[in-house]
Amino acid sequence: MSRNLLIVGIIVALIAIGSVALFYLQRPETTRKVVVYAYNDRITGIDPSVEDDTGLVVLGSVYEPLLYYDPRSDEFKPALAINWTRNEDGTEWVFKLREGVVFHDGTPFNATAVKISIERARDIYRSTGRGLGYIWDMVSTIEILDSYTVKFVLDYPARLDLIAAASYAAYIFSPSVIERTGASDILDGKIEEWFNQGNSAGTGPYFIEYYRPDKEVRLKKFEEWWGWKIVNNPNAPDYVIIKILTEPQSQYNGLTSGEVDIVSSVPRDYVGQLLSRGYKIYNITTYHNYILFFNTKRYPTNLKEFRLAVAHAIDLDELVQLCMKGFALKGSGMVPHNFPGHVDNLTYRYDLSIAREYLNRSGVETPITIEFLYQVDYEEKRILAETLKSRLHQLGIEVVLNPQPWTALKDIAKGIWEDPENTPHLIIADWWPTIPSPYDYLYTMFHSESKEWNYAGYENPYFEELVDEAWKLEGVDYQAALEKYYQAQKILFDEAAAINLWDEVKPFIYNPKIEIPREAMNPLHMYVIFFQYVRVG
């Protein structure tokens, strides 16, 4: 009996050892150039007109807008449009399109595609409120002048070049999808369904070969892409695998085991260690900022003095270290660094005596209890919440923590407009822009019309007027517009409706066997890596 057991045991052990040895000896040589990119969130959808969230990471490589805009250098780069003109008051824009471009399905790119794509984004937003098509809100008609020329007629002046370079809702897809899906019109839900099944119909350098939004998205090089000649990168990856690894720890493991080449979010504490092990880093100052809203409709945060007291009790230097491990720039104003309209010196000074003075002036009796709503799955927000709770405790302000998943947080925070008394006093949210304009930040988060995102419940007619004027002025006098945006931010700062805590610096860590040049990332396109520029091996 026991002898048989021993024999079986030995055989099993031998097989195990043998197979492991085989495994390490027989690892096939890499023949194809593959880049594995670990992304930290599920893909919420890949309809180029509707998607307003994490789908960007795929869309960015599969579709192209008319133009790209790099805020770091304030430069436009032609994409599907090669040049464009505008009339004097900025209400008519004519785009000349690139010729000889084909979609992934082989159909040619032309003006019709542009018209249909943009109208679909705009109209879906107009009819259902979904997506970010509001950026085309001012577009009244799109005229096809010839196959490769389109004319946009606007209701009011706007910087349509900036809008056309938006990271969402500005992608051009092939009109053939309407026919292929049997959709009745461009608004038909069948089209979205078709896209979300993992189909692509763009002009980008990669197309989707395999799509599992919860696991991985495999992109394959699109050989007919018009830009290969221009990019001239023979080492561009043949395949790109976007691997969904939500846990920072998993990203770390993937990178160190060599199965992943680029990681988007290892725990920040690990960065130093990884660099010392020879991994390379691409730090990008993002437009992703963390904003702490005060509920301006509920006692005691409806009192400006109380809000200022809290603002001065927050040690941003400490928080940037503690929460972001230094991977952030202290916030100033509402618009992040390097973004059009950013202003310096709109940062509250950390000084507890000032804070106490404001607290006295506010007349709020301490101890007082306030509630803090934050997103539970962000480690840095948890640290922030717990630290804030401990610090405000010194001022006699007790903070009750209310961690929620993102969707629940949105739901509760929006309640400020209907039921402010049951909405927490402090709400933290983070934001990244769709269009390269301060309007994106100031309107969406502080305008009383934007009930979806204005978690402060902030209403200030003077501020709103300034922002609205600035937006319309952008198409006419950009500098004057920026000045108005500055004034608007000054108002927010003085009133302390919200605090811009920090702008995130995103460290992308990657395996030294690949190369990521500067142009492979654009802070406007959050998390997107333009793989056509990446060099493998």
Partner: protein
């Protein structure tokens, strides 16, 4: 051997029988006393559990940084981030510079509260349902058995998820999720024991002589069925802790800054390869506590079921 040594007159037989009957009393206390006398496992378990309970009671005195223990981030957090275990912080510190030892010590309280709430409530519900089913029979019996089977089949963790989405995080979520599933086990055990008790002559007699149902249930059925169920409950204390901490570990239960072992481990898990102490120490406490209760439970069970207790020798 004892009977050979014994030279008392023959009446001693009868006396002995009485003594024996007295000894084999099935009351919970009697069982416990006997287990203490007989089993070293019981003693080890008892010592562990008492120590843990003492730590829980004395937490504010034992914790060197009681405010850290309660979840507050210390003033000098930046200087204390992820310190490895040292004399000042024997279990090290976490990502917010908090003393892990203090957190873990306060965690004893959360653990005990969760265990107590879950087991006592489930026990009450389970005893009630089991006894009712056994006594009233017929449709009620089938219905309750169906409910028992139903709730037995649902793992607590998925209920915790649903509750977390509805109620938000908090003690109530994790405790309620566990109670919803846990009572069914006690219900079943109670039912099995009560059914045999209900069949017994004295219960039938009491029924025939018109004693009210509730009185019979209380006097005979509950009293006789409860010791084995209680033993089951003691055995379960550790499992409740394991499951509760798993729920908290996944973020389905207590809020993130709570001094709870699962929560602390969850915080530490992503720093595992650079600061393992954050997750390792709370886990040891979970293991030791669960082990303590389990040792007690096992020895008690041996007392209830003498078959488990016989000495043994290989015989062929």
């Amino acid at each position: 051997m004892a009977n050979i040594r014994n030279n008392k007159p023959s009446i001693s037989g009868a006396v002995k029988n009485v003594q024996k009957a007295f000894q084999t009393k099935t009351g919970f206390v009697a069982i416990t006393v006997r287990a203490w006398k007989r089993s070293s496992r019981f003693k080890i378990g008892f010592v562990i559990s008492s120590l843990i309970i003492m730590v829980g009671v004395l937490a504010p005195l034992l914790a060197p940084y009681p405010r850290d223990g309660l979840g507050y981030v210390p003033e000098d957090a930046l200087q204390k981030i992820r310190l490895s275990p040292s004399r000042d912080h024997i279990f090290g510190t976490d990502t917010r510079g908090r003393d892990i030892f203090s957190r873990v010590v306060f965690g004893v309280r959360s653990a005990l509260i969760q265990i107590f709430l879950v087991v006592s409530s489930s026990l009450l519900i389970g005893l009630f349902m089991g006894v009712i089913a056994a006594y009233y029979k017929g449709f009620i019996e089938t219905l309750i058995n169906y409910l028992i089977e139903l709730f037995m089949s649902i793992p607590a963790i998925v209920i915790a998820l649903a509750l977390r989405l509805i109620l938000g995080s908090g003690l109530l979520t994790v405790v309620l999720a566990l109670i919803i599933t846990w009572w069914s086990w006690y219900g079943r055990v109670t039912y099995i024991y009560s059914r045999s008790i209900v069949e017994m002559d004295y219960v039938l007699l009491a029924k025939l002589s018109g004693v009210s149902g509730l009185k019979i249930i209380y006097r005979h059925v509950i009293r006789n069925a409860s010791p084995p169920v209680l033993v089951q409950a003691v055995t379960d204390l550790g499992s409740v802790l394991l499951e509760a901490s798993a729920i908290n570990f996944l973020g389905l239960g207590l809020p993130p800054d709570s001094p709870e072992w699962g929560v602390i481990m969850q915080e530490g898990i992503q720093y595992l390869s650079i600061s393992p102490w954050i997750s390792v120490f709370p886990g040891i406490f979970i293991l030791v506590t669960a082990l303590g209760f389990s040792l007690i439970g096992d020895s008690l069970r041996e007392e209830v079921d003498p078959k488990l207790r016989r000495r043994w020798r290989l015989w062929f």
